[in-house]
Symmetry: C2
Subunit: 282 residues, 2 copies
């Protein structure tokens, strides 16, 4: 078969529940595929080719736009519960009975909902730069960062994903170059879609009694990855996830912000590969 | 040369500053050796052969008893600063100019002191189940656990190092079997030595203003490893270390207590190996 990669994989479509989902699927077949859930305002083109291709070497990877995002049809719902249901419908439309699920930022909130709603569908879970329901956002600088203007619009992502240190910013520029190297690109996320995502975040982080209890029901082995100072979803939320999930490993990288997986693509690929290939039994 | 391992490596001695240090040194030569600093009441025989031999496959490992411990002469000082100075004297007596340093529990407190006092001696640092000066011990169950009696005296270590879950306790019994398989064993740590260690802990955890400031001077790449619920040095201290060290990666393992490195020896060896072999530059 053709060996596709992040740059060359064609966008395909699958229709279910009246939604036409755009996706790209490639990598080494024969095992459990890894499904990627993207961050706020992100499309399939917002992943790091170094991460995706690194992981595709040993497993099948599936990128997709959830309902209402970019080249997928439908509307973005205003809750992660509904986004999770849409993601499950997409995975089932591909006739997959078992997948590993990775979610980054709000994609990690969707990934948790997938595990809650369809526990049998999920073998392992990877949660990057994210938080639980009722996440502590008091130190988040998300609003300022997304409202500010930048020399180049793409430099928004340097502020979101990377720390102010020279080495982190240099890693950020290298990431942007990798990210922008694909020609056949997805359309940008609409303002309407971003507004629905924002509304979902607002509901999700509202405090409530015993709000972390649902985490006890996510029994899949889980890998949590975070930057040392995430300015979007504060780092402490990853610690809270680890402490409340029954079977979770946490990795925090140094001198990093929201996009630690893009700052340390080599280590991230190694850590995720180790985690996904660990013996089933602990 | 002879291929020694954790079971067969002979105990050797080196004398400096009037102290005769007992040590064992084996593994793959040619790189930077890894020096191990042991926990409260521990000797060279309290390491896990699966961890030590796993790491010795790709690097030289050096186990030793610090001054006043077991087969080493001298007295145990009542501060980690002095224990750090003794460890540095030992490393220099072996004519080593650069080492990697691993410290577990109070060994991690000694390891930090080594890095503070002899920054040029240390290439990388690994801190397991430990905390900073002024560590938050409010939830520690250390006093009860060490004061209790057990069916078999060795089962003290099941309570210290492993969580109450069946799978963790099973991992604990397997660890004890590995640990006790060496015949030629070090003498137990004396009550006098343990009392000095206790006094050092008391001084170390005393709160003081800006007590974490010294961590900013430990600039070595550092790997922090911890169990999800360390009943001896509470887990939050590893998070505090990560947040205050300039270049530290944190890994927390699931369903584990003080001895996460003994519960997950395979993952620990893989994670440490990755960390020690990462490119110098970040």
């Amino acid at each position: 078969m053709t060996q596709h990669n992040h740059q060359s994989a064609p966008t395909q479509f699958v229709e279910t529940n009246g939604i036409r989902f755009a996706y790209r699927r490639f990598g080494k077949t024969g095992g459990v595929p890894l499904v990627f859930n993207q961050h706020f305002r992100g499309t399939m083109d917002h992943w790091d080719p170094a991460v995706i291709d690194g992981l595709a070497r040993n497993r099948e990877v599936i990128l997709f736009n959830n309902a209402g995002i970019s080249s997928s049809s439908g509307r973005v719902p205003t809750s992660f519960r509904e986004m999770g249901a849409n993601a499950i419908a997409f995975i089932r439309a591909l006739e997959l009975a078992k997948v590993d699920v990775l979610g980054f930022s709000i994609g990690g909130m969707v990934a948790q909902e997938i595990a809650v709603q369809a526990p049998d569908l999920v073998r392992r879970l990877i949660l990057v730069g994210t938080g639980p329901r009722g996440a502590d956002m008091t130190t988040s600088k998300s609003a300022e960062i997304f409202a500010a203007t930048y020399d180049s619009p793409e430099h928004l992502w340097l502020a979101v994903h990377f720390s102010p240190s020279p080495s982190s910013q240099a890693a950020g520029l290298a990431f942007l170059e990798r990210k922008l190297s694909r020609n056949d690109r997805d359309p940008d996320v609409s303002e309407e879609a971003a507004a629905a995502q924002r509304e979902a975040i607002g509901k999700y982080i509202a405090p409530a009694e015993n709000i972390f209890d649902y985490l006890k029901n996510i029994r899949q082995p889980t890998l949590i990855v975070q930057g040392s100072n995430d300015v979007v979803v504060p780092t402490v939320n990853s610690y809270i996830l680890q402490q409340n999930l029954p079977n979770a490993q946490l990795i925090i990288y140094p001198d990093s912000a929201h996009g630690s997986l893009f700052q340390y693509p080599k280590q991230f690929v190694q850590h995720v590969s180790l985690f996904l290939s660990e013996d089933e039994a602990r």
